[in-house]
């Protein structure tokens, strides 16, 4: 039966996440936006709470690890992929930067949850993992990475430089993408869990950014960095058919998460803008023709409509993952729509609220800075469009570049 409401069994849990966002993230939002690179100590307590939620079993999918796919059972399932996006939406309604800084909830954790073996999952339990893909000379064309991993008996030796590693300074380990053999192209790209105390791995610097300043973004260097072979995620074989697909599969799971960050951030802007518009005497009427409402109300309705589409596309992608349906196309649609809608919504909310939106008195200007990254990381808008186009048109990456 078609029903697009928040599942009944998740309502209490979503409300809980909302309370946390309202009472812990929001009050610290501006502080860590201004104090870039200062560690948000409040998060340690929060992370312990999220761990508790996960361990209790009743709220599985409270965080990044919720994307692990389990075999689909009988009937329609509302599982941890869906609860993860719902919880992340609430947290990002609070603060995207702080969500990204939540210990043990990194994108690397999602990658581990997506592709790790059961043994690895146990071994890396409780580890806070960042994700290191991008390099100075290689962004969206991740098949072209230059970082290498050489096999040496029971270890791999990693050499290279990674940039834009979210939580790279603070996390316990990073999931590093490296090539086993550059001459073999994308099939040779594998991901490795590298603990931060591994000799040869250094945090070179932290970036100063447009937004999500509460989250640290690091440049990492790997110089003769030796990790156990057992830290390679997935199969060590270089399989031309599915090698790269293995690491890319992570994205099917993480793109809905990033889409949900955009949905949460944009909702924050919409809600506050609606209050400020009401103070200015503009009420939104869903029944009356927009031609008879103030232009601001008409704009608001348009933004809210885009938001609703982004929200439901995100839930769809997560629901498909929970039900064992291939969701690559829908994950990219969700990421594309949510990324661009959130950026547009947060920017136009500033225009609607004038000086209140632009000044630091309110958080609207911050949300408009934060949202920009959500249309970039985990695959830019353009990459999502490329993926969607290839799928719809049945094109390979050599045909449609």
């Amino acid at each position: 039966m078609i029903n697009l409401e928040t599942p009944r069994k998740f309502r209490a849990f979503v409300n809980q996440a909302h309370q946390v966002a309202a009472e812990m993230l929001r009050p610290n939002s501006r502080r860590y936006d201004l104090a870039e690179h200062e560690y948000p100590v409040e998060l340690d307590m929060l992370a312990a709470m999220v761990d508790g939620l996960g361990a209790s079993g009743t709220s599985s999918g409270a965080g990044a690890a919720g994307v692990r796919r389990t075999a689909a059972g009988e009937g329609v399932v509302n599982g941890s992929n869906l609860s993860s996006v719902l919880s992340i939406m609430e947290m990002c309604w609070g603060d995207v930067g702080l969500l990204l800084s939540m210990p043990r909830q990194g994108l690397g954790n999602s990658a581990i949850a997506s592709v790790a073996s059961d043994e690895q999952l146990r071994r890396f339990d409780g580890v806070w993992a960042g994700m290191a893909i991008t390099e100075p000379g290689c962004g969206s064309d991740s098949a072209n990475i230059q970082t290498t991993a050489r096999r040496d008996v029971d270890d791999y030796i990693i050499d290279g430089e990674k940039i834009f590693v979210t939580a790279g300074g603070r996390c316990d380990a990073v999931v590093v993408w490296a090539s086993l053999d550059k001459s073999l192209g994308r099939a040779a790209i594998k991901s490795f869990v590298v603990p931060k105390d591994t000799p040869g791995m250094t945090v070179e610097r932290l970036d100063h950014k447009l937004g999500i300043r509460a989250s640290d973004t690091a440049t990492l260097r790997f110089d003769n960095c030796r990790v156990p072979a057992a830290n390679l995620l997935g199969s060590p074989e270089i399989d031309a058919d599915k090698g790269f697909a293995g690491v890319m599969q992570t994205f099917d799971n993480t793109r809905p998460l990033v889409a949900s960050m955009a949905v949460g951030c944009a909702r924050a802007s919409l809600e506050l803008t609606r209050e400020l518009l009401a103070d200015a005497g503009v009420e939104i009427d869903y029944d009356r023709s927009v031609h008879f409402q103030p232009a601001a109300a008409a704009v608001y309705l348009q933004l809210e409509a885009d938001w609703e589409a982004a929200y439901l596309l995100t839930l769809q992608a997560a629901w498909m993952a929970d039900n064992g349906k291939p969701n690559s196309l829908q994950a990219s649609k969700a990421k594309a729509k949510a990324g661009r809608a959130a950026n547009d919504i947060t920017l136009r909310c500033i225009e609607l609220t004038s000086t209140l939106g632009y000044s630091e008195h309110e958080l609207l200007e911050k949300w408009a800075r934060d949202s920009k990254i959500l249309d970039i990381f985990e695959g830019t808008q353009q990459i999502q469009q490329l993926i969607v186009a290839r799928r719809l048109l049945g094109k390979t990456s050599t045909e449609l570049k």
Binding site: S289, E308, K333, A389
Partner: protein, 439 residues
């Protein structure tokens, strides 16, 4: 249906949740036996010249409506019970219904679309086939001769979407009577239900139309110039589907100083004049103005019901836009792959491929937002917000998809060899249209 028959129907056991699928399949079996390829030439029936702006005629009522036996109180469909789970899977009944309607849309509506567009009318055979399918019964309770025992707005959305994938203009012509039967089921009192619904559940479904629009700029359905004073209507309604054939109208008018409401009007009163109003698109729906001069009318439902009617009608237009926008996507996809320029398929260029991607992305968004509105309506949850957002999205993105559809075919999109120019014209109706269809 007589009281005896009704009792008998009840004895057979009630259909569970929605027995629509089975009921429709039964009808499909009959429909398949009808010669659906020997569509008659349009010229046989065109008396009213729907292609000529301003061509006038009188109302078309040829039967008399009278209450046979009525219930002691009006029959009302209860809201569907939700499962509490997020789910995008249609019920088995809905899947069956959609399969049937898809087949009808593909085999009957699509091939007839171009001719119907030119003739400004939908072939009577198409109309009778669609009536055979039982499209006007989807919201009529079983105890009144319909096929449902609870609200089935989501089924209505899926049906409208599937119909419009064939052709939006003919879909509107086919669904117009259903708007009236649905309105009477949802808001009619026991006398109105007993008087009018038997005609819609019988073998010859009358043409009928729900008329809300009025001819003026900045039209708002909550500020009507058509008035209902002392039980008589005066005013002009615009873009009414199949106005010249309609035997029964549901007309929106300002009730004295109270607010807008719905009124039932039989079309045989001399104060009813129908005027052809051919428009940019939806031409197969034989759009007309209905001019009302001191026409007696009875109120249908309350002022609150009117607001509900506006929302459910907008939901219908959103659903129609989904079908037509999908038709665009399905058409341009092979086209851009086959069309070559500069030595390779034009789909190998990002400027072309990204347009197709965006059609896919926005259409999926339109669909989900519309489905949410439909599913909330069905479950008896408030849905004004969701309908408003769906309408905004389907208006903007739907039109963009229509425009991109033409653009992707270039000059070929501009000529009538290809259907994209018709879809462009039809998709402009979303955001303009109110009434005419009802979920």
């Amino acid at each position: 249906m007589s009281l005896e028959e009704r009792t008998h129907a009840r004895d057979r056991g009630r259909r569970d949740a929605i027995g629509v699928g089975v009921a429709l399949l039964n009808r499909l079996a009959r429909w398949r036996t009808i010669d659906r390829f020997g569509l008659r030439k349009q010229t046989e029936r065109v008396v009213f010249e729907a292609t000529k702006t301003g061509f006038r005629t009188a109302g078309a009522l040829s039967r008399s409506f009278s209450a046979a036996s009525k219930l002691s109180k009006p029959s009302r469909l209860p809201a569907a019970r939700g499962t509490g789970r997020f789910d995008l899977t249609p019920t088995e009944d809905q899947q069956m219904v959609v399969e049937v309607v898809k087949e009808f849309a593909a085999e009957v509506l699509r091939p007839a679309a171009s001719a119907a567009d030119t003739a400004c009318t939908t072939d009577p055979k198409v109309l009778s086939s669609s009536a055979e399918l039982g499209l006007s019964l989807i919201e009529v309770p079983e105890e009144l001769g319909g096929i449902v025992t609870e609200r089935s707005a989501m089924t209505g959305v899926l049906v409208a979407e599937a119909m419009a994938h064939g052709d939006m203009g003919q879909a509107v012509a086919c669904l117009a009577p259903a708007a009236v039967s649905t309105a009477i089921s949802l808001w009619g009192d026991e006398t109105q239900q007993a008087t009018y619904l038997p005609a819609f559940t019988g073998s010859s479904v009358p043409a009928a139309a729900l008329a809300i629009l009025e001819p003026r700029a900045l039209f708002d359905p909550f500020y009507l110039r058509t008035t209902a004073v002392g039980g008589r209507l005066n005013g002009v309604k615009s873009l009414v589907p199949r106005g010249a054939e309609a035997e029964l109208f549901v007309i929106a008018a300002q009730l004295e100083d109270q607010g807008p409401a719905l009124f039932l009007v039989e079309s045989d009163h001399p104060g009813v004049t129908i005027e052809a109003e051919p428009s940019m698109g939806l031409r197969a729906a034989s759009l007309s103005r209905v001019i009302l001069e001191d026409v007696p009318a009875v109120q249908l439902g309350t002022l609150d019901d009117y607001a509900e009617c506006v929302r459910l009608s907008r939901l219908g237009w959103c659903a129609l836009s989904l079908g037509t926008a999908k038709a665009v996507l399905d058409y341009v996809t092979p086209y851009v792959n086959e069309r070559t320029a500069f030595g390779e398929p034009i789909s190998h260029r990002q400027s072309v491929a990204f347009m197709v991607a965006n059609i896919g992305i926005e259409l999926e968004g339109m669909r989900l937002v519309t489905y949410r509105a439909g599913s909330r309506a069905e479950q008896g949850l408030p849905f004004a917000r969701e309908v408003a957002l769906a309408r905004r999205l389907c208006t903007d993105k739907g039109m963009q998809i229509g425009a991109d559809g033409v653009q992707l075919l270039g000059g070929h999109g501009y000529v009538k060899e290809h259907p994209v120019e018709r879809w462009y014209r039809d998709l402009r109706a979303i955001g303009v249209m109110e009434g005419a269809v009802l979920i």
